[in-house]
């Protein structure tokens, strides 16, 4: 079994914990409890014709600078950087996170998630802004932890990218 550590990063309250809960346990709660430190969870997905066990580190939301210096990022094989579609500034923050993490921890596969797509009334980011995110690293998903929209796809996408990124030596 291949196991990969991945991290959920992003500003506070954007829905990282909710996304993990949706993905791992298929549940959702409106209640907001700010995360502290890191919380580890896991789920197995199919990617590139094989099984990958994702060891998911749900980290506390913080600024790009602080996140990129967190010890919890060590040994991570991929990142899910989460933004909130109802708060445009979290998209800017997401880009900063992606950059700084790449600087401090190396360039590993990364996927952006613009979350809370179910809140259509409050939605304040344009398709262009999302496209810009996608342009940064190649992949951005519009997700909802509440409805479950695109959540699984985002995780699987990251798993596939990580499988593809494995150095040949690892298969020896």
């Amino acid at each position: 079994m291949t196991k990969k550590k991945i991290c959920l990063l992003g500003a506070p309250g954007v829905g990282k914990t909710s996304l993990v809960a949706r993905f791992v346990k298929s549940i959702f709660s409106e209640k907001y409890q700010a995360s502290v430190g890191a919380k580890v969870d896991k789920k197995t997905v199919h990617a590139n014709g094989g099984q990958v066990e994702l060891v998911i580190w749900d980290m506390a939301g913080d600024s790009a600078d602080r996140i990129s210096h967190s010890p919890y990022l060590r040994g991570s094989s991929g990142h899910l950087v989460v933004a909130d579609g109802t708060q445009p500034e979290t998209l800017e923050e997401a880009i900063r996170v992606a950059h700084e993490v790449a600087v401090n921890h190396g360039d590993v596969p990364l996927v952006f998630l613009v979350n809370k797509s179910d809140l259509t009334n409050l939605w304040r980011v344009t398709p262009a802004a999302i496209a810009r995110l996608a342009g940064e690293k190649g992949h951005a998903f519009v997700t909802s932890a509440k409805s479950g929209e695109c959540v699984e796809q985002a995780f699987v996408k990251l798993a596939e990218m990580m499988a593809a990124a494995e150095t040949p030596a690892a298969n020896a």
Binding site: M1, K3, G37, P71, Y72, R74, G75, T167, A169
Partner: protein, 569 residues
């Protein structure tokens, strides 16, 4: 290579000389050979030259070794003896040099190991002392008392009891679980998540407290559980342990982790998520699932309920013993009291008593006049069957018994009081002379009587005689004027005296004496009275000439006399 282009020319030149047929065959052959094999021979000559060969090998060697590649075990195997020999020779020749070289590498590890050992010992001591004054300590003391082992040893055994239930081999950097082993029924949180969280906690601690590089979280304690973590450069070995691990368990973890690093160095270095490379580590990890029990080498026997059972039985037994001892104590007291009661009873004396058997065995002496011992034992609450008593008869010198015996043997009549006090039997009251005689003869024969005091004993026979005698003495026989014969008046008095004197015969006889009447007065008149008395049925009368009691010459007085039997005889 550079010589090759020249060869055709020389070749061609040789042919153009045009002397092949003219030359002698041997020379020709030599020339031909030179012509055909010249370059090869040159090469062979070079090969045979040691200096050239050395130069060539030394040029090719590094490249050749590099080409064999790092994975070639053949080369390593071939070189190993030489390398080992070389290294060992070098170390033997220059130990200090190597020591200096290795010190920076080894010293921190050694320092850490020593610190670890100290910490473990301290911890054991701390735990031991902290439990000494607790409920636990009390339990140990009880256990020590029960088993006869010193409290210290019990404490040590208890303190060292542990069981490692889960062992995690964790990729240090990512916290990904590389391998996991556990005993059956180990607590069930997901091992991957535990592995991640342990790593996260470790990173959090190191990060938060900004400790020196060497220090890190290496133990977590939750209630009865401990998590011990050993960190290597690439991997973490964590064990969840129930109880307090022995100090050397840390070393077990260290050694295991060191071994894994040595053996799987490459796999750890290039780890990208494929954990199957570490399946081979399972035996080493399983070897860490140790347990140490206070009862050596007894298989997975859960001793807790057993121990409690023992304790309960022991407690019950103790209670029973306490009760038995107490009631036995009470019973012994009761039995001793009985013996005391028997001993204080006049006329009873125990010579031996066996109180710890049932029925109680009592041997002793009993005066026949003493109270029935059965009465005493029954009064003390012992039924007949509870006592096996045998009594020998004896004369008790107890005053009460002496007195009782005196009364019984001397058959004192009514009106006589017998009293014994410090060796003397005092008798008082009135008794017939016969009994008094008997008493005087027999009293001293009664055991225990040394003296008899009968000063206050009155002889009823003597008393009666004296009474009669005084009545006789009261009678005066008076003659009128110068009359010398018995007239009717005198006769009446004489008869009265005779009657009284006759009565006195009985008491006198009882006293063993005889009685006689003495008539005193003027000779003739006294003789007349005596004759008159003797004529009557009365004790004999004698005459005594002399003045009569009243003093008047014409009277005769009478006196009753008691005669000694002996003298009479």
């Amino acid at each position: 290579m550079s010589e090759r282009p020249l060869e055709p020319e020389r070749h061609g030149g040789g042919i153009r000389n045009g002397q092949p047929a003219a030359s002698p065959p041997a020379e020709d052959f030599e020339a031909l050979r030179e012509l055909l094999l010249g370059p090869e021979q040159e090469a062979l000559r070079k090969l045979a030259d040691p200096a050239t060969r050395l130069q060539e090998i030394s040029d090719a060697l590094p490249e050749a070794l590099a080409k064999r590649g790092p994975h070639d075990r053949l080369l390593a195997r071939a070189l190993r003896p030489t390398v080992e020999e070389t290294v060992s020779q070098s170390i033997r020749r220059q130990p200090q040099y190597f020591a200096d070289l290795l010190a920076p590498v080894i010293a921190p590890t050694i320092r850490r190991a020593i610190a670890q050992a100290f910490e473990s010992t301290l911890q054991a001591i701390r735990e031991m002392t902290s439990r000494t004054f607790s409920m636990q300590g009390l339990k140990w003391r009880l256990e020590a008392w029960r088993s006869g082992i010193s409290v210290g040893e019990i404490a040590l055994r208890q303190t060292l009891k542990y069981r490692a239930e889960q062992v995690f081999l964790i990729h240090r950097e990512s916290g990904v679980l590389l391998q996991y082993v556990s005993i059956p029924g180990a607590p069930g949180a997901d091992s991957d998540m535990v592995s991640g969280m342990l790593t996260a906690i470790g990173q959090f601690v190191t990060d938060s407290f900004k400790t020196d590089a060497g220090e890190s979280l290496d133990a977590i304690k939750v209630g009865e559980f401990r998590v011990w973590m050993e960190r290597g450069p690439k991997a973490i070995l964590a064990a969840t342990i129930r109880g307090t691990p022995a100090a050397d368990y840390r070393t077990v973890l260290q050694d295991t982790l060191d071994g894994i690093h040595a053996l799987h160095h490459a796999a750890l270095n290039r780890f990208q998520g494929d954990t199957s490379a570490f399946d081979v580590c399972r035996p080493e990890l399983e070897a860490c699932l140790r347990s140490e029990s206070s009862v050596p080498s007894r298989k997975k026997l859960n001793l807790r309920p057993l121990r409690w059972g023992f304790a309960l039985i022991a407690l019950g037994y103790l209670g029973w013993i306490a009760y038995a001892v107490w009631s036995q104590h009470l019973e012994r007291g009761r039995r001793a009291d009985l013996v005391k009661a028997l001993d204080t009873e006049p006329g009873i004396m125990t010579t031996s008593a066996q109180l710890d058997v049932t029925p109680i065995k009592i041997r002793g002496l009993r005066d026949p006049l003493a109270r029935d011992p059965g009465l005493i034992t029954r009064a003390a609450g012992f039924p007949e069957s509870a006592i096996d008593a045998r009594w020998e008869s004896f004369y008790s010198l107890d005053p009460a018994l002496i007195e009782r015996r005196a009364k019984q043997e001397l058959a004192a009549p009514e009106g006589v009081k017998l009293q014994f006090d410090s060796g003397t039997l005092r008798v008082e009251g009135t008794a017939p002379h016969a009994w008094i005689e008997l008493f005087r003869r027999n009293a001293r024969a009664v055991p225990g009587i040394a003296k008899v005091d009968d000063a206050k004993l009155i002889d009823t026979d003597l008393l009666r005689w004296h009474e009669l005698a005084s009545r006789v003495e009261a009678i005066l026989i008076r003659f009128d004027g110068n009359g010398e014969a018995i007239g009717p008046a005198q006769r009446e008095e004489v008869e009265k005296a005779a009657a009284i004197a006759r009565e006195a015969v009985d008491p006198a006889t009882k006293l063993g004496r005889q009685t006689q009447i003495e008539a005193t007065g003027e000779m003739f008149r006294a003789s007349v009275v005596a004759t008159a008395l003797n004529a009557l049925d009365a004790p004999p009368a004698i005459v005594r000439a002399g003045p009569p009691k009243s003093g008047a010459t014409n009277t005769v007085s009478l006196r009753l006399q008691l005669l000694d039997s002996a003298r009479e005889r």
